[in-house]
């Protein structure tokens, strides 16, 4: 990011950037940039909602703390992306999170998938963390200084998520017979939803140097995943990819329930502040 941009937005990459700061920005993102911010924000929001369920239910207390950390990081990223997207349409992060209907969400099917057992959650976490790391480590060079700044903060946090899920994949795959069986099953259930992460959409062509082309992340993602699977003595699941559609507002059957729970209280009291 250039010096001039940095001073114009009062943001420098790597500095703690709060959603409250983004809300005060004078610049408004173009509609396409805001749509792209929704993609990333919705992924993080729905994942945080899923991970939040584990807090008080994890296999050990240390893991309640770790999963809560990851969920908190994701909710932080969601708040920043949604706040920025909302600047384009005079909406707040909460307007977007609580008062959009299901087809208006842009999350991928992967983050909507049920937690299942701990192995299934870890399989989903591994895929998400590797993908988000590849994505954010490129988005730091975005032509949009706000997206770059959000990514600069997120990439450091997601680096820890990568490590967390990698360590657990190794423990589960190489631990006991039962844990290995569950890890293999978890990966298999997760695998159909991987392809959607790397599907390009026309929106990306409009973004130019602002966004990261999903298909460009596939090769580095595959290499990173293969390295983990090799060490864990696991094979890529031999299951076909599923047709996605989240970026177009066509979601899995799970999202309706997730939103029903997420939005219930806010929608009972429209216009109230909390």
């Amino acid at each position: 990011m250039s010096e001039a941009n940095a001073s114009a937005t009062r943001i420098t990459p790597g500095n703690a950037l709060r959603p409250e700061d983004i809300a005060l920005l004078e610049t408004r993102p173009a509609d396409a940039v805001a749509q792209y911010a929704l993609w990333l924000g919705d992924d993080a929001l729905i994942l945080a909602q899923r991970l939040g369920w584990w807090i008080s239910r994890a296999p050990e207390l240390e893991e309640d703390v770790a999963l809560a950390n990851i969920a908190l990081d994701q909710i932080g990223h969601a708040r920043s992306f949604l706040t920025y997207a909302g600047r384009a349409w005079d909406k707040t992060e909460d307007d977007l999170a609580y008062f959009r209907r299901e087809p208006e969400f842009r999350s991928v099917h992967l983050v909507e998938q049920p937690n299942g057992d701990f192995a299934r959650t870890i399989a989903r976490q591994l895929v998400v963390a590797l993908y988000q790391w590849e994505l954010y480590s490129r988005l730091v060079d975005s032509a949009d200084p706000t997206l770059a700044a959000i990514a600069a903060k997120a990439v450091k946090e997601v680096d820890y998520h990568r490590d967390h899920s990698t360590q657990w994949v190794l423990r589960l795959a190489l631990g006991t017979e039962e844990s290995r069986r569950r890890m293999i099953a978890g990966l298999k259930l997760t695998w159909p939803y991987v392809e959607e992460l790397f599907t390009d959409h026309p929106l990306i062509d409009e973004l130019g140097e602002t966004g990261v082309r999903p298909s460009s992340l596939r090769a580095p993602f595959d290499a990173a995943l293969q390295a983990v699977l090799d060490e864990a003595e696991l094979e890529l699941p031999a299951v076909p990819g599923a047709v996605g559609g989240g970026r177009l507002g066509r979601h899995s059957e799970h999202l309706g329930y997730i939103l029903a729970e997420l939005q219930v209280l806010a929608r009972e009291h429209p216009g109230a502040s909390w």
Partner: protein, 326 residues
């Protein structure tokens, strides 16, 4: 998880020099450390108190976690997640402090799940509305702070030190709870009614968190002599009522107690009668959520067993590999 801890059984139970030192340290208001000699009853009483406190943190995660997925704004959701995460952290330090007295965490967890160990009864009440999240922070964490601040000076070192950190985080939680209620009290009529209803339901149970009246509290006397506990149940309760009287005015809500008054003669805040029968019922396991809370803890523990076994097996294999490579 496997845990290691010092084994008190291996130590000589009676040690005249050790006992003299213990008495001196207590008299000087100094600290007893894990390797010091201590009377068996001191160890037992502390283990009971610290493990109950740890269990309360862990069970206490459940009622609040119940609202994480429904929190009405993203900021509140993040704050609530962080709060419940802090509670897991408090449970961890407290179990560690209790382990220094010789009881492994596994055994404490088993006692909890088997219904043999106690935890704070307050968590057996249901958390019905979002305002309850505010009332728990303000009243329940507020009462916990009154109880816990003196424990920072508890004679047992690891407990006192754990409490210093816990109290800092608890006071942050209390401010958050107050802020939730303040926002609701100044919100729509429905939000305001929700806030008052929550205060009405949590007021008496939070007063009972200080334990039975002094004349009926069997464990208190010895704990005070040993300087684990510094103030009596009734003293702390009265202090808490005084604080709440101040703060409820700022909220613009009411305490559901017409008998609250400052007694000039005793210098204490007095409150209306509390339903100790209900307290004993909940303590005996007949509260609205006792069975639910224990079942949820048992379920998480048992369903996590294969994960903990995998982690232990993996660690063992890695250690073996390292040893073979050496």
């Amino acid at each position: 998880m496997t845990t290691t801890a010092t084994t008190p059984e291996s130590r000589v139970d009676h040690d005249a020099a050790g006992e003299r030192l213990f008495d001196e340290l207590i008299a000087q208001d100094s600290r007893i450390e894990p390797r010091d000699w201590m009377p068996a009853d001191y160890r037992k009483s502390l283990t009971r108190q610290i493990s109950q406190h740890a269990h309360s943190e862990i069970i206490g995660m459940q009622p609040e976690a119940n609202w994480i997925t429904r929190a009405p704004s993203l900021k509140r959701k993040a704050v609530l997640m962080a709060k419940v995460q802090d509670e897991a952290g408090h449970g961890l330090y407290l179990y560690s402090a209790a382990e220094t007295l010789g009881t492994p965490r596994d055994r404490m967890t088993e006692d909890l799940i088997a219904g043999k160990a106690r935890y704070s009864s307050i968590f057996n009440y249901p958390v019905l509305t979002w305002a309850d999240i505010g009332a728990i922070g303000w009243l329940v964490d507020g009462a916990a702070i009154c109880n816990q601040v003196p424990l920072c000076r508890a004679s047992y070192g690891p407990y006192g030190r754990a409490m210093v950190r816990i109290c800092k985080e608890e006071s942050f939680h209390q401010r958050q709870g107050f802020e939730i209620l303040l926002e609701l009290a100044n919100g729509t009529p429905e939000q305001r009614a929700m806030a008052q209803d929550a205060v009405n339901r949590w007021y008496a149970p939070s007063l009972m968190m200080f334990g039975p009246p002094d004349e009926e509290s069997p464990n208190s006397q010895k704990s005070m002599e040993w300087k684990i506990k510094r103030f009596s149940n009734d003293e702390l309760r009265s202090r808490f009522v005084g604080m709440m009287v101040e703060q409820i005015r700022v909220l613009g809500l009411e305490l559901p107690d017409k008998d609250v008054r400052f007694d000039e003669e005793t210098g204490r805040w007095e409150h209306g009668p509390l339903d100790w029968k209900e307290f004993r019922e909940v303590l005996a396991g007949r509260g609205p959520c006792n069975a639910q809370r224990l079942e949820r803890r048992r379920e998480a523990h048992e369903e996590g067993a294969w994960v903990r076994e995998a982690a232990a097996a993996y660690a063992q294999k890695q250690a073996l590999k390292t040893a073979q490579a050496a």
